[in-house]
Symmetry: C2
Subunit: 180 residues, 2 copies
Amino acid sequence: MANEYPHLIERGLTQESIYRGKMLKVRVDTVALPNGEIAQREIVEHPGAVAMVPLTADGKVVLVRQFRYPINRVTLEIPAGKLEWGEEPEATCARELAEETGLQAATLEKLTEVVVTPGYSNEKIGIFKATGLTKIAALSEADEFIDIVELPLSEAIAMVQRGEIQDAKTVVALLWLSQA
Amino acid sequence: MANEYPHLIERGLTQESIYRGKMLKVRVDTVALPNGEIAQREIVEHPGAVAMVPLTADGKVVLVRQFRYPINRVTLEIPAGKLEWGEEPEATCARELAEETGLQAATLEKLTEVVVTPGYSNEKIGIFKATGLTKIAALSEADEFIDIVELPLSEAIAMVQRGEIQDAKTVVALLWLSQA
């Protein structure tokens, strides 16, 4: 699509790594704007992520309740996680679903993909529906403090509509299913 | 909501500023986990943002086409922008709508608010519907290279459903209106 719009395109000239943390990597690129002027772009590098709506046979969604330190709030979200380098998104789904909920899914169906902060990050999130759920493990994720919350899909969608679920990937996934 | 879930809460202990760029600010906090262990959290600080669906009297949405350097893609998004410090969200809407589209809205209705990356950023985006549109200005935003694209709302929603619009705030806003 970029080639169709040469009057919009910025061209990367140089990259400088600014910070390489455990989770975040930040770099500053020098770019040429469409008019030839030079500007800088600050970018959070992200390996990409997946998120999935685990849907039970009786029409319930399995959500995770967790504390999100950056926003100082307890949230309800669909299970999600970052891709490991070189990992297929479906493998990440299986790993995160097991780690966060102790479930395995017989079927994963991709609903869509979103970019969450295209102004300053390359993060993409593949959003899936996970069905055919079976319990495979007791939870033992030492690193994560989460509650598992099962709700009827219709109630989860109502929570989105009332603004009680605000996590963007979760809102997209639940509104998507409310249309299906 | 946090007080109801003491077994999930992390408590901030110290903050260290790591990077203060033109657009991004990054800090690392030391936190106490619910079990008392110590961990670090890397956080992108964000002033918050607004986004709005400008809806014309004949049922069209006004979108902006722009190049997003971090994802190396041309995107179609609803107009949006960051809050200036101390600015009311409605004032940001008016400013960004004028800057990006040359339009003024008689009515702003808040649809919802989302958090886009609660794992590592405090960014919140208030999402509005803007109606009663009138042309107030020729475009002269020297800094932004954008095209204005008017589409029937139904066609914009179809683009979301086909995965041709992937910006999360835009997906949320359009799916929201598709339900209304």
